[in-house]
């Protein structure tokens, strides 16, 4: 005998984090009460569970048999409760679903990671989700059928919510972010071999070199990823809002084994959230057990992810003045070192990342080459944008010059830049009669000014052999010359903190901008530190202080945080 009535589950099961709602984990008759009890904001993200709607691949259940597949009803309830529902459609293996979201009949070839281990993830209640390859042609064909059936259902029933594609990643300090689409299974290798054969005639370089193979594998992976994305965006064209990249805490290979050993570190996850945000990705805590995100981690996730980063991504629910807190970014860094780990020269080796991590932690955004686009030119001009010469191609070369000419601040490490682009840069300076100021400070530096725009070109390779103190002073001096308006924390211990910004509203006319720093102490030690207050900044208020003492002093603020303490502090910025 088995129970047919679903057992009511607690909030953590149906709302595992960041406003996600697992509709398949509770009875449809409980949806209204669950959603009305949810008080963390107006946004509800609903990941779509492919296998829940299609067990066989021949038949699709959208409210025909099981009431829990009635997405129209779910959307209606959310609307009636004043909540905005957003569908998330996984575009590859989803670690939070059994079989990575694949219907049972398609779960044939286990996805394999770079270590040769089968890919898996441990969810919040300790279940192991094995992931399967999305490089199998049958999977792609079935995905096409599913998106078609779902789009027909959405259109037929008039569901009016936005749909985002969801790309899933793990995060690990050693390997950085890793896509769950990344695969070394036999299915991948076979299809990659066919791709390689087709490309062999086009490529002149040594196809057997590890670097070229790495690039080709990445290119092939991107090609297949984009097939899934294109398929979905075309199926849901009217409601398609783009793709969200989400990195799931506790799902890297190292985290998996750490969790098999029953080991969790809230402190580590606290830092991971900030690292993931600095990559412009959504940190997700949905895979972590409820017991370890009771306090600080939950607060961090709600404040920084759900009610800030995701609001910004969803571009909705703006307050009356049309502004809400967004991540404060001072530095845009192109070409993640991990994206081409074989590169000998990168922002790690020339010392920029270690400097920023120490001095202005998480006030930077790391982007891989193909993400380097600027949707807001005004914002881009206010930031300092870094380009790595070795990765300069036609597209980012033009982007760099465009940014410089429109008043942006650009720093180019010319090490490894091809002679073609060095020549083009030289011609650009000559054609525009730009004066080059040359300075020698640990390396050769060229400073070029054009209106409000400024470009600094330097030889980063020379920094490799310098002692760390000199490299640090190089970056300190260089960044000081840009006169950025920055607030810093003076502390001997690393403090988990994150800066956000918003425009001033009608009650704050004395200020141009409001900055908020959110502080967390996941350690078991008391933390004491200072926030320097240079001119143009004023302390406004302290919010949600828990086990925290804030003492304003002349030109600085002293903060004392007890273990598990947290607070946010607002500052007004004026000219």
């Amino acid at each position: 005998m088995s129970l047919t009535t679903p057992v009511p589950r607690d909030e953590d099961t149906t709302f595992p984090g960041e406003g996600w709602f697992y509709y398949w984990k509770t009875s449809a008759s409980l949806w209204r009460s669950k959603l009305s009890e949810y008080q963390k904001g107006g946004l509800v993200f609903v990941p779509l569970n492919w296998s829940f709607h299609s067990e066989t691949g021949d038949h699709y259940d959208f409210a025909e048999h099981r009431p829990e597949t009635d997405l129209k009803k779910l959307n209606t309830i959310a609307n009636e409760l004043g909540k905005k529902m957003i569908f998330l459609l996984p575009l590859g293996p989803a670690p939070f679903l059994p079989n990575g979201g694949l219907p049972h009949f398609l779960a044939r070839t286990a996805a394999v990671n770079d270590e040769g281990l089968p890919q898996f993830a441990i969810d919040a209640d300790g279940s192991i989700n094995k992931l399967y390859s999305f490089y199998d042609n049958r999977v792609y064909q079935a995905f096409t059928k599913f998106t078609y059936q779902l789009s027909q259902y959405i259109s037929r029933t008039g569901i009016n919510c936005d749909i985002f594609g969801l790309r899933c990643y793990s995060y690990c300090r050693h390997q950085s972010v890793k896509s769950f689409m990344s695969d070394r299974s036999p299915v991948f290798e076979q299809s990659f071999a066919r791709f390689l054969k087709a490309r062999r005639e086009e490529i002149e370089v040594d196809i057997n070199s590890p670097e070229v193979e790495w690039l080709l594998r990445a290119e092939y992976g991107k090609t297949i990823e984009s097939l899934y994305e294109t398929n979905a965006s075309e199926a849901f064209s009217a409601q398609w809002e783009g793709v969200l990249d989400a990195a799931f805490l506790g799902t890297s290979s190292e985290d998996n084994f750490s969790r098999l050993g029953n080991q969790h570190s809230e402190q580590k996850y606290s830092w991971d959230i900030l690292e993931i945000l600095s990559r412009d990705m959504v940190p997700s805590t949905v895979m972590l057990p409820a017991r370890i995100k009771k306090t600080l981690l939950k607060k961090q996730s709600d404040e920084l992810v759900l009610n800030s980063f995701l609001l910004n991504k969803a571009e909705t629910l703006q307050d009356e003045d049309g502004s809400f807190f967004q991540p404060l970014i001072h530095f845009e860094i192109g070409d993640l070192p991990t994206s081409k780990s074989f590169l000998k020269h990168n922002w790690q080796s020339n010392g920029l990342l270690p400097f920023l991590k120490t001095t202005f932690p998480f006030s930077y955004r790391l982007r891989s080459g193909d993400q380097f686009k600027f949707s807001d030119e005004q914002e881009a001009r206010e930031r300092l944008t870094f380009f790595l010469g070795e990765n300069i191609q036609k597209q980012n070369f033009h982007l760099m010059l465009k940014l410089f000419m429109s008043g942006g601040k650009v720093v180019l490490d010319r090490t490894g830049m091809s002679s073609e682009f060095l020549k083009k840069l030289e011609v650009f300076f000559i054609e525009n009669s730009l004066k080059i100021e040359k300075v020698n400070f640990h390396t050769h530096i060229h400073n070029i000014i054009l209106g409000e725009g400024r470009m600094v070109v330097f030889e980063g390779e020379k920094l490799h052999t310098l002692e760390p103190g000199k490299v640090f002073s190089f970056w300190q001096k260089l960044i000081e010359t840009f006169s950025l308006r920055l607030l810093t924390l003076d502390s001997t211990d690393p403090i988990v903190h994150y800066w956000r910004t918003r425009a001033a509203n009608s009650n704050e006319l004395n200020y141009e901008e409001i900055r908020r720093v959110s502080l967390y102490n996941p350690s078991s030690y008391k933390r004491k530190f200072l926030i320097q207050l240079p001119k143009h900044f004023v302390l406004l208020k302290v919010i949600d202080a828990l086990h925290v003492e804030v003492i304003p002093k002349k030109s600085q603020i002293e903060v004392m945080m007890m273990p598990e303490g947290s607070a946010s502090i607002d500052f007004g910025v004026f000219s």
């Binding site: 050693h174 190292e254 084994f257 750490s258």
Partner: protein, 133 residues
């Protein structure tokens, strides 16, 4: 079964590379995870040199399987384990295919691979097991 569960069993997943040397990929027990820094330090103390990381922070190389077993045994003694189970990638994959819960997976893994007993383990009595830290 009760006896089995009270034992401190360490799981070590290893893989050979193309040259025939062996590397440790991951190492854990049901209540602990041995991170690469820990294994690196142990390797350094055992061999007087740092591990040679190729693509990942894996610990090695070990010249042959005997060399790997010696290190595994040393690790088991170092952490006061009762036994250490050496698992191949295939062992792990097979166990993963058959189990979908953490405790079941660990129980299954305990019966696979090559197992080395730490016979020198002190305090095999009931009380020492109960009060072990």
């Amino acid at each position: 079964m009760m006896e089995q569960e009270s034992l401190k069993v360490i799981f070590l997943i290893y893989s050979p590379d193309f040259s025939g040397s062996y590397y440790i990929l991951h190492c854990f027990e049901t209540e602990h995870f041995y991170d690469c820094e820990y294994l690196e330090n142990l390797y350094r103390s055992q061999y007087g040199k740092a591990p040679n990381f190729s693509k990942f922070p894996h610990t090695g190389p070990f010249e042959d399987f005997t060399d790997l077993k010696n290190f595994a045994f040393h690790l088991c003694k170092e952490v006061n384990g009762d036994r250490i189970v050496l698992l191949t990638l295939e062992d792990f994959q097979g166990a993963l295919d058959k189990n979908s819960q953490k405790p079941e997976l660990c129980r299954h893994l305990a019966g696979l691979g090559e197992s080395l007993e730490n016979l020198n383990q002190e305090g095999k009595g009931l009380f020492s097991k109960i009060f072990r830290t």
